[in-house]
Symmetry: D2
Subunit: 364 residues, 4 copies
Amino acid sequence: MALQVKKIALLTGGGDCPGLNAVIRAVVKTAIRRYDMEVIGIEDGFSGLIQGRYRSLSLADVSGILPRGGTILGTTNRDNPFHYPVVEGGKKVWRDVSDQVLANLAALGAEVLIVVGGDGSLKIGKELFAKGLPVIGIPKTIDNDLLSTDITFGFDTALVTATEAIDKLHTTAESHHRVMVLEVMGRYAGWIALEAGLAGGADVILIPEIPFTYERVCAKILERRDAGKKFSIVVVAEGARPQGEEMVVQRYIPESADPVRLGGIGQRVGEEIEARTGIETRVTVLGHLQRGGSPTPFDRILATRFGAAAVRLAAERRFGYMVALHTPRIEPVPLEEAVRELKRVSPEGELVRTARDIGIGFGD
Amino acid sequence: MALQVKKIALLTGGGDCPGLNAVIRAVVKTAIRRYDMEVIGIEDGFSGLIQGRYRSLSLADVSGILPRGGTILGTTNRDNPFHYPVVEGGKKVWRDVSDQVLANLAALGAEVLIVVGGDGSLKIGKELFAKGLPVIGIPKTIDNDLLSTDITFGFDTALVTATEAIDKLHTTAESHHRVMVLEVMGRYAGWIALEAGLAGGADVILIPEIPFTYERVCAKILERRDAGKKFSIVVVAEGARPQGEEMVVQRYIPESADPVRLGGIGQRVGEEIEARTGIETRVTVLGHLQRGGSPTPFDRILATRFGAAAVRLAAERRFGYMVALHTPRIEPVPLEEAVRELKRVSPEGELVRTARDIGIGFGD
Amino acid sequence: MALQVKKIALLTGGGDCPGLNAVIRAVVKTAIRRYDMEVIGIEDGFSGLIQGRYRSLSLADVSGILPRGGTILGTTNRDNPFHYPVVEGGKKVWRDVSDQVLANLAALGAEVLIVVGGDGSLKIGKELFAKGLPVIGIPKTIDNDLLSTDITFGFDTALVTATEAIDKLHTTAESHHRVMVLEVMGRYAGWIALEAGLAGGADVILIPEIPFTYERVCAKILERRDAGKKFSIVVVAEGARPQGEEMVVQRYIPESADPVRLGGIGQRVGEEIEARTGIETRVTVLGHLQRGGSPTPFDRILATRFGAAAVRLAAERRFGYMVALHTPRIEPVPLEEAVRELKRVSPEGELVRTARDIGIGFGD
Amino acid sequence: MALQVKKIALLTGGGDCPGLNAVIRAVVKTAIRRYDMEVIGIEDGFSGLIQGRYRSLSLADVSGILPRGGTILGTTNRDNPFHYPVVEGGKKVWRDVSDQVLANLAALGAEVLIVVGGDGSLKIGKELFAKGLPVIGIPKTIDNDLLSTDITFGFDTALVTATEAIDKLHTTAESHHRVMVLEVMGRYAGWIALEAGLAGGADVILIPEIPFTYERVCAKILERRDAGKKFSIVVVAEGARPQGEEMVVQRYIPESADPVRLGGIGQRVGEEIEARTGIETRVTVLGHLQRGGSPTPFDRILATRFGAAAVRLAAERRFGYMVALHTPRIEPVPLEEAVRELKRVSPEGELVRTARDIGIGFGD
């Protein structure tokens, strides 16, 4: 019979995401209360693992953190141990320091590493597992672009933030007879734009999966004006592109450092609309607000379920898996499968079809 | 080839539920924009159908209603056409007036009736379908107790309201070293209590599916006190019962008139805790607040998808179905199957197990 | 020249109130950063002072507490040192232990005691000051019934909670053609009921300052029905009374232990309305939810200003004062004057007049 | 004795502001219910008055609008009748069309014009009054920069939006060890930045009234880092300026068309901080979100009081006044006095002093 797991290490990687603290709390509570394990919290993602920064987590450490955004462990986007910046001879060079990670964990006595992360962090987890490290993954991305799980925590909170923004812009748009453009996150997948657009009553939604033309976008706005609606709401995913423009997909790199660029596609769309229709247009870039805040109940619950499920997998010594929501169950998915490709919006799917049926335009 | 549907009737039945207006909007927009159908809105549920109160709904009628709670059509809990109160000879008697319903719809020229309702209203819909009326159902219940759909709209909003209440009680409990008891809805199924308890960090959750004893409830609270936690949060579903007490299940009756009784189980639990532990205890009954408010983005989207899907079914002349969420798809389920039994919390399921793993007690 | 104050003691007394932590944070930050004083935090109000429970507060102790409800120091309603429960000869008797308070503070080396509290706690503060203890008061009451300050922190947060409740009840009332009764806090003063009623669009507001008759309340509801409005919203302060019934004012006692009694005046009003008008009526008792939650920005700012101002007074050795908002200034008011009488709603004032002008009834 | 006023005209001018609908509702309800007057709603501010677009407002028109943002009358920023764009000979020229305004109102039979607006709109109102038009003003500005009233409606809602944004950025800043810069509105006055900064726990606040240097801003951030705080929150008013740079004050022009410029001062501050400290820095521009959303209870109440008070002034034929909050009273202030100068933050005042006392830096 296999030995019982006594000590697990836990890190949170990649961009900020509401629900990380709920995961940490569930891992610690389940480990200590249910299995009498010790949990070592690694600071600042893989960086802390490479640099040997960590601390033991007690029940008191996780008391009261359930409703809080952020992560008490810290996180960072720039810490791939297979491609890590090291200064040699006065110059910054990139090195594979993954052996150091394994050595540090061994020295620590941790029998398994739980990685809470998005596509980038989970890919690193997969490779560490391939090198022999017992890894369990927990999916995390506000973009909802992980294929093997119905949804991840963080997305619902981001959706609420984006929808509240549309609700706020709506009345001003209507009172001022303006076009209001809102740029939301979603570099490769348009989930936030699509769902917030549906929830907020947008008139046009532009997403990476459906290249648009400015002609069609403006035609929709003018069609509304001709029907007596003097305002329009346009929601734009940061990765949306006009037809013919290539979308540069940069995968295999931890989540990008700065997903919000002022003067990005939202700004361009706004300028084109005002120039082509003559209707006063204003642009808002929602940016980092989408990564913050107290997680919604849905996200707190899903994060808690993921955390407890990951510890159960650890107790059963089932490594190399990511926990996933296959409604209504939580099930393990091999890490390799989990990060094979991103989940993108289907232009022919029921969500887009519903949006079109109620009159929303996609600029195509 | 079947004739095209030209006119559909729509009613909202049973208790209030956030997302009803989003359904109405989606039905009207899809019917008019996508299929060029007319939508007749029936006022106040089946009552309006029996009494001949209805109006044609235009795009202007549904403009701006997406974020609003309630239903612009009105609703009521007391309007079963198979058991309808009629005054005869100065006395109130109960009659089957379902023929009148069919006659009224025929006179109106409506080819299909879309019923938005919970277990009670959908059962009526099923029986009207059995009598030959083309019916399509849309599930609606904040209690989340319908078996054939992963979830219904309204539940997420109720969950947010209940969780926010727990968040508010938490700090007072902690500052005053009190036990705070919150009674939430859920007469036959403990979904709101269980999920809000998980999301709000409750210490004890009492639900109809797991009969409790006051001894075990108090033992949990005293165990916490002995560990230095001077406060506790107890979430009680209105249908929770001590072991040995029978739960009276009244099915086949439209959703009950008043699910909140002051002095109900929450009050009893609070009194027993204070008497048995000597710790100051306070009770809050959340009541009708759970049925109101602007729907969450999740509920707005699901309601919109259900509304559009129901109209598509109507256009395809597929009657006798309820639209349901089988994540990630919207699929039709025969009405008969949809209302066969309620969906209740499994005491052995993963959600309850997760709650126990992180230390929540169920009083059993 | 007077000696510089080096050490101050701080306690929070009475019922919970959003903003207490913001006060504590401002006191500690101002004392340490601006004046290099030490702050001793007394636990659980006057109880901790009597029993000698306290701790030194550092900048780290107050980090991150600004947005949180409750008080990190704890509080209690039952701790009047002039009337304190002591067990003597196996019996509970009430004793004046105020000398013990002075002795404990002297032993502690604290040169001033800052009391954050409502009418009850400030009265105790006033008497301790009369006994020679250097006391500075900070007003705190969600009821807004302190005369010498324009407003206190906590009220705005309670007002938001109560208004959100009315917003939620509104759509259900309208959809179901019901009367919705909401009981809010306010035993001696109707500020929450009046302001939440104005903000939420109530039709009838019942407050302690304006005794009502059920006839007039129902007349207003029937007048609305006759004008085609099938629903009404009635907001009732817990201290509201029908004409002829005496209101028992219990002053000089710390804020009462349980301001919410199920089956109180809200319940009675609801039953009378349903019986007299025949319109379906539902009652919600908001209760403890009004004391919890993250403070609003207004309350966080006012609490911060009060905290900083109290420390400035301490530094100037100006004792026996309560800090007060005299818009836009913060000014000291002698404690004696501050607690002379409660601030109640003027039945002839501009707020009530405005409510009447827009058609709100007071049942008189 | 003066004749009774029978008909009043009402317009909302300038930028969007939460509470406008609450004003409209209070004016209509008070006029009809209390004084039996007719209210003519002018569409789109002074533009509608010049172009003759208006409609009579009934009680039904204002039903349900209390909690909604925006204005059912519409508004615009570009409609000064003393400087109005007219096309003559194929060219756009600017003309004084104020006589047309007086003529239109006379033709309409309106005896008084109620102008709801900020500094720009009220100045126009003052000049129309000087030309003999009976005008009553109601102050409106989210910037809170009107001198003669303690506060205006709209500000509290904007403050909540800005504070919620800081709350969201806080956890991300802390988890990622970043500097987060938030640019908020406030071209000439830093009220939103100052109060949101106080409420959100900012570390640095930059406002137009206190010119800053990048050295001092960065010194504060580095001081925090040296004390172990790896993150900082910087709130920047859009009108903040480094020492030596002139602030261009453009008064006498209706509120500017676009107060948010991407790449404005927030962006500059963020770039300088990152360049000078080497700490990862992110910028968010809150923009139009500050003008939208459901008004807070405070704003709904103040707007209602202003609306009712303005109608009372009209009934008393007291023209040429603006209603103002002189806590706790609503009082009339001569229009001329009301718009004499803007209310700006005092660098020596109690609010700034409190901020400094608790350790907030102003970069000076």
